[in-house]
């Protein structure tokens, strides 16, 4: 991405030609990475970017084609959340991050496929059919930001935005061999991100390299008065030259290398840790006793918030509406039964149950207490180390048809990614090797809140000394 930004200036590369070439590739692709391509409007934006380049605008994002997950509102461009409910919904306003990108003359190339309302880790729950993994089209790209990950990996855009509630940026980044950042909660405005679980959701960048991710992150972060959970101060400036890892301590959670971890994944991640050691970092083992309750706590808190957040899709004001000639209850039932897919319904029911009178204390409230303990574990860990490292996902990309009927096993695959969401801390996934089938493996790094500078700096240095992120499908 940054290479292209340079070539826009030093060579005769035009953002308009580049966009046309990319759109061509997108149309020819059968990865189903996009739900909607942004044709004419994107070309207008590219023309404008060309003009900006001629005027000497030195912002790295000018003219670059950014793919946007289809749960981020784009004015005038349909935003479906991969749901039948919003299949024809066109937002009247831009999300804060989209405004920022447009202001920088980046080009929104299209809206990417995802799990319905970001609930899932395969994109199989998309009402528009699953996206496919560029490394093996019969496998899932992961999810829920699977379309964004596939688009980046397959070169169908220069970089992408995803959203991460329990791993939805990092897990597909891992499965597709790219770098993806889940920023600190509150560092990127959620205004215009269609809510799944408000206290966990965060928009983040996905790209080929940590350096590209850092540049895109810099463009979208910052305080937004329209998001009351937006942080006033973010992380310190991010060093694009990487950082000296000597003197840095990397903690490794012992329990992350236990039962259920694929051998190839374990081998590659341990190799990645060795690379960090070679670069001068100290790697220490740690115990974080409450992390094993992460999945249980998450699958109460996230569905509870989702059950409330998705109540607005009632057929009254926008989106799908069925049976409106009969009575109100019938309209609600028909609309919501037809509009939502199975996974969304499952989570609405789980969440409704967890918040119900008589169960609130045992479920939602208890889960919130566990969340506090997990955050405390992580805080204490960071008093003894600068970063935490481990695998992003216990496995590599699996077949599109696998695990479709086994939600529990799918939920358990989120075990490594969920703690960062519960604690609100930043985490990224970057490629650290391949399994026996040649499928990419991701290494996850976590940092204390608002220390994306350390997180991305370490990742850049790692990538300056490895080639995994450069291998293409």
């Amino acid at each position: 991405m940054l290479d292209k930004a340079r070539r826009f200036r030093t060579e005769d590369l035009s953002p308009v030609d580049e966009l046309e070439r990319l759109l061509e590739r997108c149309r020819a692709s059968d990865l189903n990475a996009y739900i909607t391509l942004n044709g004419d409007e994107a070309l207008d934006a590219a023309e404008q970017a060309l003009q900006r380049l001629d005027e000497g605008d030195d912002d790295p994002l000018v003219g670059l084609a950014i793919a946007v997950k289809d749960n981020i509102c784009t004015k005038g461009l349909r935003t479906t959340c991969a749901s039948r409910m919003l299949a024809d919904y066109v937002p009247p306003y831009d999300a804060h991050v989209i405004r920022l990108l447009r202001r920088k003359n980046a080009v929104i190339i299209g809206k990417t496929n995802m799990d319905e309302f970001a609930m899932g880790s395969t994109t199989v729950t998309s009402a528009f059919g699953p996206a496919r993994n560029p490394w093996d089209p019969m496998r899932t790209p992961g999810g829920s930001s699977g379309g964004s990950a596939a688009a980046v990996a397959a070169g169908l855009c220069d970089a992408a935005l995803g959203s991460d509630t329990g791993g939805s940026i990092r897990q597909p980044a891992s499965f597709c061999g790219i770098t993806g950042l889940k920023p600190t909660y509150g560092s990127v405005s959620r205004y215009g991100l269609v809510a799944f679980a408000s206290s966990l959701d965060q928009i983040g960048p996905m790209a080929r390299s940590a350096r590209d991710v850092a540049v895109l992150f810099d463009a979208i972060r910052g305080h937004d008065p329209r998001d009351s959970t937006s942080a006033e101060a973010g992380c310190p400036p991010i060093p694009l030259e990487g950082m000296d890892l000597r003197g840095i301590t990397i903690g490794v959670c012992r329990s992350f290398f236990s039962e259920g971890l694929d051998r190839d994944v374990e081998r590659s991640v341990r190799h990645g840790l060795a690379v960090f050691e070679d670069l001068g970092a100290k790697v220490v083992d740690m115990d974080l006793p409450h992390l094993r309750y992460s999945v249980a706590a998450y699958y109460l808190i996230a569905p509870a918030e989702a059950s409330s957040n998705l109540a607005r899709y009632d057929g009254v004001r926008y989106g799908l509406r069925l049976c409106d000639e009969r009575d109100l209850m019938e309209m609600y039932l028909a609309t919501r039964s037809a509009g939502f897919g199975d996974e969304v319904k499952r989570r609405i029911m789980l969440g409704t149950y967890a918040l119900s009178a008589g169960y609130y204390e045992a479920y939602y409230h208890k889960a919130s207490q566990v969340r506090t303990l997990i955050a405390k574990d992580l805080r204490e860990a960071f008093s003894r180390c600068d970063l935490l490292a481990g695998p992003t996902v216990p496995v590599t990309a699996f077949g599109l048809g696998e695990m479709v009927d086994d939600p529990l096993s799918l939920y358990l695959l989120d075990i490594y990614t969920i703690p960062a969401n519960l604690a609100g801390i930043p985490a990224l996934s970057m490629p650290c090797g391949f399994d026996g089938r040649g499928l990419p493996i991701g290494l996850q790094l976590m940092a204390p809140g608002h220390r994306e500078d350390v997180l991305l700096g370490a990742a850049m240095t790692f990538q300056d000394h490895t080639r995994y992120h450069e291998v293409r499908p």
Partner: protein
């Protein structure tokens, strides 16, 4: 049912008088075209997020302090989840187990004694839209202009023991809302709404009976009627040893009875949980102190001051402080002319009448305080009769003229010439020989009758004081 004790608690919702809505920048305004003051936030569009209106918090703090509450430096917003077409997000943002204000009280006077009613809590929340049902074509339109309008909910302790007390509490509360400029407080327009919890018990019982919840009482009169009806209904159940069922009842003003709400509508589990889109509400000490320091005079204080400073009767003082604008108007008049009782009288009767006719308020009426005091002075100086002054005031209200110009236009000028009045008096006495005889036989109260007749024949232009002197002079001689 003598001897049965009623236990009443009230839940009052009042719309806050802010410029913008609770969680977005849309105008908080009434009576506009449908769905004109809306945006992604108050329409509940996907991705929109709430941002708290600081002014709403300040107004709620002001009310909390006026009601002697503890204002909490940290409180929480929560979501109340239920489906209804005019609730755009499918949940209402409110406060639940951690409200802004708790533990206050309000003293009210009812039945000649002062009663202290406990205030359990005051919390902030947002209003829903309005459903406009069109029975004829079986359609419902929804207006979201009201969606997201800031509200306070005020919950009392079950300290109220009669419909009259409830009514007195509501009137006092409304007056406080008006004087603090926190709310418009009009029940009929729904900016001030009240629900009640009612139970009955035998005197001396320390446990509370089974309560019912009363809704849909949209005027002070309906509150009194509905409570009286419900108390007697429960009392007769108690008397015949039948149980009171815990349920929600709607007051039907036309049928003058309460009717149970359909069970489907009331069997809500609201699934409250902390609102993740809003951080805890922090109100620092400095804000509380600032609000306390700038607290306007409360209506009860102002009433007592008007009695003390201007010598008004309790009744007149209460009338003058009906709204803060009227009270301000009164005080401005009093600063111009030293005749508080006359001014109070003119304001609470005639000015209120002409404002009612033109649909004005003390702030908008064309009769400015200086003009009213000029009129009152003319009356006091005997240059205008009361009757003529009323006519002049009507003219002033329509044209905005000062009293002199209005009098000229109307051709009214007090008949100051004694001979002219004397002639009129003679004419009246000649026309009523019977009354004249009875007066002379000792029925001197008839002087008033003759003055009235003189006013009639002179179209009210005669100075009544002069007329009565001349009537007595002639008849007594």
């Amino acid at each position: 049912m003598r001897g049965i004790e009623a236990v009443i608690g009230l839940e009052v919702h009042a719309q806050l008088k802010t410029k913008t809505k609770m969680f977005c920048g849309c105008p908080n305004s009434f009576g506009q075209e449908l769905n004109t003051f809306t945006c992604p936030v108050c329409l509940g569009l996907p991705g929109a997020l709430p941002v708290l209106n600081a002014k709403a918090v300040e107004l709620a703090v002001r009310l909390g302090l006026a009601l002697n509450c503890r204002v909490h430096e940290r409180s929480l917003f929560a979501r109340k989840n239920y489906f209804y077409p005019d609730l755009p997000k499918g949940y209402q943002i409110t406060q639940y187990d951690s409200p802004l204000c708790t533990g206050g009280y309000l003293d009210v006077e009812a039945g000649g004694e002062t009663r202290r009613i406990g205030i359990r809590r005051i919390h902030l929340e947002e209003d829903a839209g309005r459903s406009l049902h069109d029975e004829a074509c079986k359609r419902t339109r929804i207006d979201f202009n009201r969606s997201g309008v800031p509200l306070v909910e005020i919950v009392t302790e079950p300290d109220i023991s009669s419909p009259e007390e409830a009514s007195a509490f509501l009137k006092e509360l409304r007056s406080i809302l008006l004087h603090l400029r926190v709310s418009e407080g009009t029940m009929e327009e729904g900016t001030f709404r009240c629900d009640a919890n009612v139970s009955v018990r035998m005197p001396g019982d320390s446990t509370l009976g089974v309560r019912t919840e009363l809704k849909n009482m949209n005027s002070f009169k309906n509150v009194r009627r509905a409570l009286a009806y419900e108390i007697s209904r429960q009392a007769s159940l108690l008397a015949s040893s039948r149980p009171v069922v815990q349920e929600t009842l709607l007051w039907s003003a036309s049928a003058r009875r309460t009717v149970p709400m359909r069970s489907k509508e009331e069997s809500h589990d609201y699934r409250y949980f902390p609102e993740p889109d809003l951080p805890p509400l922090l109100v620092d000490r400095m804000l509380i102190d600032r609000v306390r320091a700038s607290m306007p005079e409360l209506p009860s204080e102002r009433r007592r001051r008007f009695m003390r400073q201007y010598g008004l009767s309790d009744y007149d003082a209460s009338q003058v402080i009906a709204t803060p604008e009227l009270a301000d108007y009164f005080e401005e008049c009093c600063s111009l002319v030293d005749a508080p009782t006359d001014i109070a009288h003119w304001i609470t009767t005639e000015l209120v009448r002409v404002m009612g006719e033109s649909g004005d308020t003390p702030l908008t009426t064309r009769v400015r305080p200086s003009m009213l005091t000029a009129l009152v002075s003319l009356v006091k100086a005997g240059r205008l009769s009361g009757l003529m002054a009323k006519e002049v005031l009507g003219r002033m209200s329509k044209t905005g003229e000062d009293p002199a110009a209005a009098m000229e236009d109307l051709g009214v000028e007090q008949m100051g010439d004694e001979d002219e009045i004397r002639a009129a008096v003679r004419g009246v006495i000649d026309a009523h020989p019977d009354e004249a005889r009875r007066y002379r036989e000792g029925k001197t109260q008839l002087a008033g009758f003759f003055v009235g007749e003189v006013m009639k024949v002179t179209s009210g232009r005669a100075d009544p004081k002069l007329a009565i002197r001349i009537v007595r002079e002639i008849l007594d001689s």
